[in-house]
Structure formats: C-alpha cells, structure tokens
C-alpha cells in the first residue's frame, strides 16, 4: 500500500434498535387514549373490567377485545410511602407508589400518588388522576394521582 493511499476508512456506528415495534391492538389502544386524556380498560368474559387492559385474560389466556371507557377517579387498594425518592423515580418530594382501582374497574393499576404527607395515605382513599400537560402516549401521561378532595 503506497503512502499516498493510506487513507483511513471510517463508517458511522450507532448502537440502536434498527426497528420499530408496535404496542399492539390493546396496549396501543390504551396508550393512544391516554394521549387523548382518556382511560380505557378491557372486559373479561366474567364481566370484570381490567385496567390497564391486557390482550389476554390472566386466568384463562382467552383473547380480550371489548373496550370499556373509565373515569379518571378511583380508590387506593395498596400503597407504600417513599420518603426518599430514588433518582429514577424523578420525583423531587416524597410520594406513594400505589395500586389504584378506578371506578368501574375490578383490578388495580400501579401508579404514583402525590399527597401532602404519609398520614393522608390509607387503603380505600379516593384519588383522581392529574394529567400531564404534554401527553405522548405513555403511562406517564398521567403525571400522578392526588387525593380527590384536593384535586
């Protein structure tokens, strides 16, 4: 190889997933509706409403497709108080992780509850969603839930 031709060949390399994936007809529907400020569940054969919706019944494996619109209010069915948020929680103040059963639903949805302090928290308390100002079709389009009386 002559010196004049000693050109170093380079090529761009970017570590990435070079494909897109769809969230499918059920999860996709839920996330798209969240972007539009609506909450959608799915009905199981026994009539129970599951939110967030699943493509398949967790007990029987049966495919599910009957969508149900739900309000953005519900009750806390389980919770924990996080006094010192971890970095990834992206919360500047103490908050609760909670399972929330929306009115009309039969299952709980995991989310954050922002309350003045832990003493306000109890299972059975009523909460309402606080929507994010900018919504993109993610679970975080609901910024958090807050006690209903303070909403």
């Amino acid at each position: 190889m002559s010196e004049s031709s000693a050109e170093i060949l380079t090529a761009p390399y970017r570590l990435k997933y070079s494909y897109k994936r769809t969230t499918g007809p059920v999860i996709g529907r839920f996330l798209t509706d969240l972007r539009d400020g609506k909450i959608t569940g799915v009905r199981r054969p026994d009539g129970a409403v599951m939110v967030p919706p699943r493509e398949y019944d967790p007990e029987t494996g049966e495919a599910l497709s009957e969508f149900v619109s739900l309000p953005d209010t519900g009750v806390v069915t389980g919770w924990t108080w996080v006094a010192e948020p971890r970095q990834l929680h992206a919360m500047s103040t103490p908050f609760a992780f909670a399972t929330i059963q929306l009115d009309g639903a039969h299952t709980g949805m995991l989310h954050r509850v922002v309350a003045p302090d832990e003493s306000v928290m109890r299972s059975g308390m009523r909460v309402r969603a606080r929507w994010a100002a900018e919504r993109v079709g993610m679970i975080t389009d609901i910024e958090c839930f807050v006690p209903e009386e303070s909403a």
Partner: protein
Amino acid sequence: MRDIAVIASAQIPSERRSDLSEIEMVQKVVTGAIEKSGIDRRAFDFWCSGSADMLCGRPFSFVSALDAIGAWPPIRESHVEMDGAWALYEAWLKLQSDPGLHCAIVYCFGQSSLGPVPDILATQLDPYYETPLWPDSISVAAIQARALLDGGRYTERDFAEVAVENRRRGKSNPNAQLTGDFSIEEAMSGPYISSPLRKHYCPPLSDGACAIVIASREKVDELGFAAPAWIRGFDHRVEAQSLGVRDLTSSASTQLAGRRAGARGDSLDVAELHAPFAHQELILREALELGGSVSVNPSGGALAANPIMVAGLLRICEAAGAIHRGEAKRALGHATSGPALQQNLVCVMEAN
C-alpha cells in the same frame, strides 16, 4: 419418574462486595462441588447455569463464565436468565428425559455490588405500564407488605419476628452475611426504606455463587454415595405479571407448586424458604401449610444472605445439606422470582 438425587453442593460466603470476578466465583464453587461429588470433571453429562446479564449490563455475560468450567472437550451446556434453582429444574428435566444421562452440575452467580439492584429489578415489570414509573423492588415488596397489614391477619411485629429469627439462626451459618442477635424493638424502630418496610425487614445486598451436583440412581450406586437427597417432587408455577390483578397477600403459585411437588407441610423436617423480605416468609408458610414442627430456614434464609440469582438455589443446597448430614429425612427447598413472589418453585427431597 427416574430417581435423581442431589449429592453435593458448594458455595462461597456471601459478602456485600466480593473481590472475586464472576468467573473466579464460579470456578471456586464448581471445583468445590465436583470435588465433593467424587465425579471426574469430564464425566458430567450436562452443565446448566443461572445468572442475569442485567446486573453487569453486558449481553451474554454468562458465556464468559464458561471460562471457569473448562468447556473442552465440548460439553452439553445450557443457561437460564433466572435464579439457579430454575437451572437445576432444567438439569433435572434433562436427566428425566434421557436415561443415557447420569449426572449434571448446576451453578449460578450474582453480584449485587455491580449496580443498583432495586432499580435494575424494575426492568422485570411490565415495560409499558409499570417500568416507566421505576417502581423499585423494595417499593413493590412494600405494597405487598401493606396489603398483608391491611388484611388484618398480621401485624408489623410478625415481620420483625421473622427478621430477628432468621438473623439469629444465620449465626451458625458460616456463609451468611447479615446475622446477629437483634431485638424485636430494635427492628421495629429502624428507619423506613419504603413504608411499611423498615430496614430490618429487607434483605442485605450480597455477592455470591453456588453449585450443586445431581446424579441418577445408577451413578449414586456406582459412587457408593451414603446420604443422597432424592428429589421426590419438583414443580414451579407463575402468576400474572401485573401487580394489580392478583392477591398479593397469598401465593397461589407456591401453593400449587407445593401440592404438585407433594410437599405435605406437616411431613417436612426442614423447609428453606426464599423470602427476601420478612413478610414474604409469612405468606409462604401459609401457602405451604407448614406445621409448627418444621424447622424453617435453619440457614438464616435470604434475610441473612441474598446473592441475587443465587439465593433460590442456595435454599435447595441448604435443604439437601440437612439430608446429607442426617439432620433431616424430608426437606423442602423453595425459590422465588419476579415481583412480589410472582413465580415460585418447590423442590422436595428425601433421605434413603
């Protein structure tokens, strides 16, 4: 079903931060278990391992662990991205399905010191509905603990008793990490991590590894092994992934796995339960219907040492060890995986 027994196991002491690399840890436990078994290294028909690439953030990191076992001449080998207890299940199934195979070695390793484990475990949750909120594993367990308190059958004092008892029993286990005589009051006045879980009700972060050898009846007879732990029942079951669709205060999968494995709670001498959080032992005791005569976690359990991806197989090693030493006729090893006891495995072993 073929008669297959646990004949040897080896582990290294759990530590908060090991100076060993993963490969060095594997080398120690694999060599230790092979020596105890008396089987020539080249005579093993199957090798299987359990570990998680997410811990060191390096794809296919389990492949480098093969350096420790010497994969030449070529060996039959497999890996599960799970606790080693599930690798043992695969090895047991392999020996069940091929009468030409007579012995297998299973190993697992995990270093909690490599990254923030509570955050890493959030990636095992639903990627659309849950992980974007980063519910760390302690908070997820705390929601379960709260549900148990709300249910009214247990109080926080029960959590404290489990934690104190395990750490007291762990004092006689040279491989345990967090042991000692703590008082109930001390446990109940410790700081909260995610309420209602205080520090004492949570497991330590541990680095560790273990290995186990199983063999067919023909092999056991050939070796003249005196005290094999015969695997009489082995089953694992999984529940729904989302936390909001199942009853967190009971463990249907443990109950089902226990029944299918023939656990019969009142017939056991020893039960080693993989309950990283104190309240989970209460749920597991109920699911397996353990009677008062059963010695639960003589090793101190996962509250005394919790090497990630290892603590489940360790329970089976400890239960088998009680049979090898003649301390138990019938012993159970349990392992869990997933958020808040989502998936559970039960292995029932008996003496000759």
